[in-house]
Structure formats: structure tokens, C-alpha cells
Amino acid sequence: MLDQYIGVLLTFLFAGVIVAGMVSASALLAGRRHSPVKDEVFECGNPSSGPARGRFPVHFYLVAILFIVFDVEVVFLYPWAIVFRELGVPGLVAMGLFLGILAFGLFYEWKRGALAWE
């Protein structure tokens, strides 16, 4: 059973080594000529306009929470998708109820405008 994962481990190893080598290649191979202007971030030529990490709209947080909830819903759908033929109509009803509850949630957010403006 577990030897399925040898392939995964080896792929991780190869990909990890190659990508790590790639990302550190510039740092190792390229020259380094430091000047103060290279320290500034790029703002299309304008001098840096203030602290980088100001506050951000709370909307991104809402999107992340909604993503978690619907991700969990999708995650419940996967095992069901494999056995739903065996479960027949009762399984359909059970999952239908679950999806209905969450569809109601989606509808509620839609009406409340949580999905709008972004």
C-alpha cells in the first residue's frame, strides 16, 4: 500500500532539488554590485510613497472564509462522488440536503453583498 508513495517522495526530491537550485542560481552565479537605489522598491519611478504594509480591505478576509467553507463542502463531495451509485436515492437525499444548506448560505451571502465588489 505504502509503496505508492515512493514515487511521490522521489518526485518531491527531484523537483525540490531542481527548483531550489534554480532559485538560488542567481544568488550564487550572478555578480553583486550594490548601490542604494537598488534597495528601493519599484514604484514606476516615483519615490517610495510611504510604509508598505498598510491596512487592507476586510473583503479579502471574507473571501478566504467563504473559500474555506466551500472547500470543505467540495471535500465532502469527493467521497460521495465515488459511492453515490451504491447509495442510491437515500444518498442523493442526504447529499442534496447538505448541498441545499450550503446553497442557501451562498444565496444569503449573494443577497448581503458579500460576493460583490471584488
Binding site: 498598510g54 472564509i65 451562498l106
Partner: protein, 166 residues
Amino acid sequence: MATLAFLVLAALLVGSALAVVLHPNPVKSAMALVVTLFLLAVVFVLLEAHMIAALQIIVYAGAIMVLFLFVIMLLNLGDEEQRARPRRRVVVHGVAWAAGALLAVVLVRLVAGAPLGRPAPAPEGYGSAALVARSLFTDYVLPFELAGLLLLVAVIGPVVLAKRGR
């Protein structure tokens, strides 16, 4: 061989968990937590719970930790300030480590003292998605639907809180 793999894994797990707790930078702490959760999924794989391992990564390491990172970035949490009072730091660390050590001792004694025989070999297909699915949607349908309700609360709650006063 399996024991060796598990020991290495456990060492890495404990190391990254310690990094979560001890690192002053919140973003790196969160990334250490992602690593911890990923390693936890590997532990699940060693326990033959393949589907749960994948779901652990999809939901926990892939969704919830993204939320953590968003919150850290939105709140613009900086590095934990080194307190000007080193004595208080020593006290806090001392209490934390002592409590952790106490918990560890209790757990080890419980597990070592319990009359556990060799576990029965896992039945064929244990941990596979089909087996989990069948029992989830037949024996455990009610908890499943209640989980749906819980998710509904999780959807409605933040919307209400965020839109309050608009």
C-alpha cells in the same frame, strides 16, 4: 525501517511545531505551521489513512492556513517585540516549558501503561475513499448534516460581523 521513518518524521514534526511557537515573526510562524500540517498528513499516510491525508492538506494546509496568512497580512502584524523586561520572558518561558514537560510525562505514562496489544492488521481497503464514504453517508449521516449546518453558521457569521453597521 518503518520505525526509522516514523522517528525521523516525528523529529521533523516536533521541530516545526517548536518553530511555530518560538519564532518571533508571525508569517514565518504560520509557514512553520503549514509545514507541521503537511508532516501530519504524512503521518496519516503512514497510518494508511490515505484519503484523510489528502483532505488534511487540501483543507487545513491549503485553505485554513491561507486564511491565517491573510489575517496576519491584513492586520499587519509585525515581529513580536522583544520585551524590555527579560525577567518576565524567563518566567513565561519557564512556565510554558514546565507545563509542556508535565503534559509530555503524563501522556507517555498513559500510553506506556495502557494494555495495548499489537493492533489488528488493517482490513483490506482501510482508509480508502470508498470505505470512508460508505460509512460516512450511511452510519454517520446525521453528523454529516450537522456539519453542514455548522458550515452554514460559518458562512453567515462573518458576513453579519463584517457588514455590521452598514
